[in-house]
């Protein structure tokens, strides 16, 4: 889509003597499609959740465009940012997963997918994929693992991470409730699946209240050793 990022060059029309500056509408290959993704790692589970709204500027293109993509039986990736790059990136990851499976006769582990994604993103260092990725899944020991990325491939393993348009609203709340930051005299209880699910729902309901790009519905993927289960919860549609 053409984006009107005017660069303000002025070109006086030769021969007419007009001095009015003309805004040059430069083509931008990127646009921002909104959306929020959240991943939480537990002792033996991992939750990856995203809203399903696809927007651009003041419009909503779709209310049913989830941002979680299943990669293997143990790994889910959430991608927000520019939807075109999200689609291409997930296609490339899926192709690379198949190639790995054919040459190595085994499925890629969550950590390996994260390391591979880092190099895929960095290979486009000078024309980046405008995608904020969060990978959630189980590691080789069966524990929950969350890996968060920046658009050019810097990554880190976390216990929980929020990405996308409402990330700055969700992350502090998670730091407090799951990381027990800025709390005194509180017992650090390990997170159960039920509590984590409730937290995810509450947190997205709050995000939908205050972020225009988040809303419509919430899709949750729960990764356990028994596979991946999905849930959909309705959010505000305004």
């Amino acid at each position: 889509m053409l984006s009107t990022a005017g660069c303000g060059l002025s070109r006086p029309e030769a021969g007419y003597g007009l001095e009015a500056p003309v805004q040059h509408h430069r083509f931008s290959p990127y646009t921002f499609n909104g959306g929020t993704v959240l991943a939480i790692a537990g002792e033996d589970f991992c939750i990856v959740a995203s809203d399903t709204r696809l927007s651009e500027g003041y419009s909503i293109h779709s209310r049913d465009s989830p941002k979680c993509y299943k990669l293997t039986e143990r790994t889910v990736i959430g991608c927000t940012g520019f939807h075109g790059d999200c689609l291409t990136l997930t296609k490339i990851i899926e192709a690379r997963l198949k190639m790995y499976k054919h040459s190595n006769n085994k499925t890629m582990t969550t950590g390996a997918i994260a390391a591979m994604l880092s190099t895929i993103l960095y290979s486009r260092r000078f024309f980046p994929y405008y995608v904020y990725n969060i990978i959630g899944g189980l590691d080789e020991e069966g524990k929950g693992a969350v890996y968060s990325f920046d658009p050019v491939g810097s990554y880190e393993r976390d216990n929980f991470k929020a990405g996308g348009s409402a990330s700055a609203m969700l992350q502090p709340l998670l730091d407090n409730q799951i990381g027990f930051k800025n709390m005194q005299n509180v017992e650090h209880v390990p997170l159960t699946l039920e509590k984590a699910l409730q937290l995810v729902k509450d947190v997205f309901i709050s995000a939908a209240e205050r972020d225009v790009y988040t809303g419509d519905a919430l899709k949750i993927c729960i990764v356990t050793k028994d596979g991946i289960k999905e849930q959909t919860i309705q959010l505000r549609k305004d």
Partner: protein
Amino acid sequence: MALASVLRAELAEFSPNFPKNFPKNFPKNFPEDFPDDSEGIPEILRDPPGPPRVLAAPPWGFEAEPEGPGLQILHGTTTLAFKTPHGVTVAVDSRATAGSYIASQSVRKVLPIGGRMLGTMAGGAADCAFWQRLVARQCRVQELRNKEPVSVAAASKLLANLVYQYKGLGLSLGTMLCGWDKRGPGLYYVDSEGQRVAGAAFAVGSGSSYAYGVLDRGLAAAARSEEAACELARRAIAQAAHRDAYSGGCVRVMHVGPEGWREVSHHDIAELQDKYLEA
């Protein structure tokens, strides 16, 4: 078919001949023979007149910083390292910022290069992680070929020459390579501008000025023992975190000695500040 060619392009960068055969049709006398194929391109997509500002620009123009709305890459912040008779003491903070948002307070800014060398991260997080990992791989290959651990001078030169090829394209890398080789402790500062300089003490990043203030004052005393050196390093990072908004999180102190590198301590800056501000 299109996806396969994209994938081949992705994988080409990791072939052993990279970057010798990248890009294939790169003009030899830049910028005189830079191809001007703008006749068929609509006005709105053409380059502005004049020589291209940057190497290898795509037809729609090129920005050193990615220009997507809100596209922000992570940057890292205060790191320091200094030599002592016992080895090299390295200390880093752990904050990563994307614009004014603190993306993470737990980034590992020290990247091991083999068992005897460490590289620090300041500037673009992805740039530092990627190029140091590549250098680590090349160092390992060199060790296998020469049956001898690679020297800090050689590793830093490899890194400097790698990033120099991308000078001007917007890489942001300010790293210190710290190690112990047959010449004793080695410390080099390498950055994406092409600088490579050996020294006895460096502080790199947005909080480096504050760190230098504390570091320079205590360097002579720090040579006494490893304990004193680590305490000085910790104090310097804590001071930088206190004054620089883009530094914080926790302090990680590492030490590289003749037997290799090890992590000495890991403290949350909030706790350290209680301790230091009282004194």
